[in-house]
């Protein structure tokens, strides 16, 4: 079985641009969460989606949005990019919203804003 897949692996954007990151969860997993990991820090929670509905949102501005599709894949969108948005964006999936056995993470998308 394929693990959590994220695309693209790397990308470079200019300040003010918009970016879309994609995530496909493990087959059968219905919950997807997004985390931002700035260099040298632990990941920070951005969103959790379950059954196409937003279940929770972290302390991020409205420039960050996400959605989940009927096949449970997900997109994270960031508008009006700032230099501070440069980070590794991690997607994590779980069977349901209660991931007491832990999440399975993808390898992330490295976003660089110049």
């Amino acid at each position: 079985d394929a693990g959590v897949t994220q695309s693209p692996t790397h990308l470079i954007k200019t300040r003010g641009q918009q970016v879309t990151l994609r995530c496909s969860p493990i087959s059968g997993h219905k919950s997807v969460s997004w985390y931002q990991q700035v260099l040298g820090q632990g990941p920070q929670f951005i969103f959790q989606y379950y059954e196409k509905e937003e279940r929770g949102r972290g302390n991020f501005p409205d420039r960050f949005s996400a959605r989940q599709f009927p096949n449970y894949s997900s997109e994270l969108n960031v508008n009006a990019l700032l230099l501070g948005d440069s980070a590794l964006y991690l997607c994590a999936s779980s069977l349901g919203p209660a991931a007491n056995y832990g999440y399975t993470f993808g390898s992330g998308t490295r976003l660089t804003v110049v």
Binding site: G42, Q48, R55, G56, L88, A92
Partner: protein, 116 residues
């Protein structure tokens, strides 16, 4: 607010030695879950071990074990017979309920280097 603190930014040991990584956390919840994740240069966060707070027995996964002290809010990771492949960033994480969501709250990480 729930916080997770890892007080050791970096550690280095020789291959085959035992190493212990420290983690403390702060929460007012009584039932919760704690995790240790490993992040090698490949960037993927890999689950190493988990602990349920209502279980007094410390979790063990092969060479990895934890020392869970609920009253002290301490959750350290012990790696026995360390191997070169254990070289990675290690993150301690606390599972927090936030409304209808569950989220992981991570510490700052400990960079572990295993030397040959």
């Amino acid at each position: 607010a729930q916080t997770v603190t890892q007080s050791q930014p970096e550690m280095s040991v020789q291959e085959a030695e035992t190493v212990t990584l420290s983690c403390t956390y702060d929460t007012s919840e009584n039932n919760y879950y704690l995790f240790w994740y490993k992040q090698p240069p490949s960037r993927q966060m890999i689950l190493v071990i988990r602990q349920e707070a209502y279980k007094q027995q410390n979790a063990t996964e092969n060479r990895f074990s934890v020392n869970f002290q609920k009253a002290a809010k301490s959750f350290s990771l012990k790696i026995s017979d360390s191997q070169l492949g254990d070289t990675a960033m290690y993150f301690c994480a606390f599972m927090k309920h936030a409304g209808g969501a569950q989220k992981l709250v991570f510490g700052q990480g400990t960079r572990l280097t295993i030397n040959p």
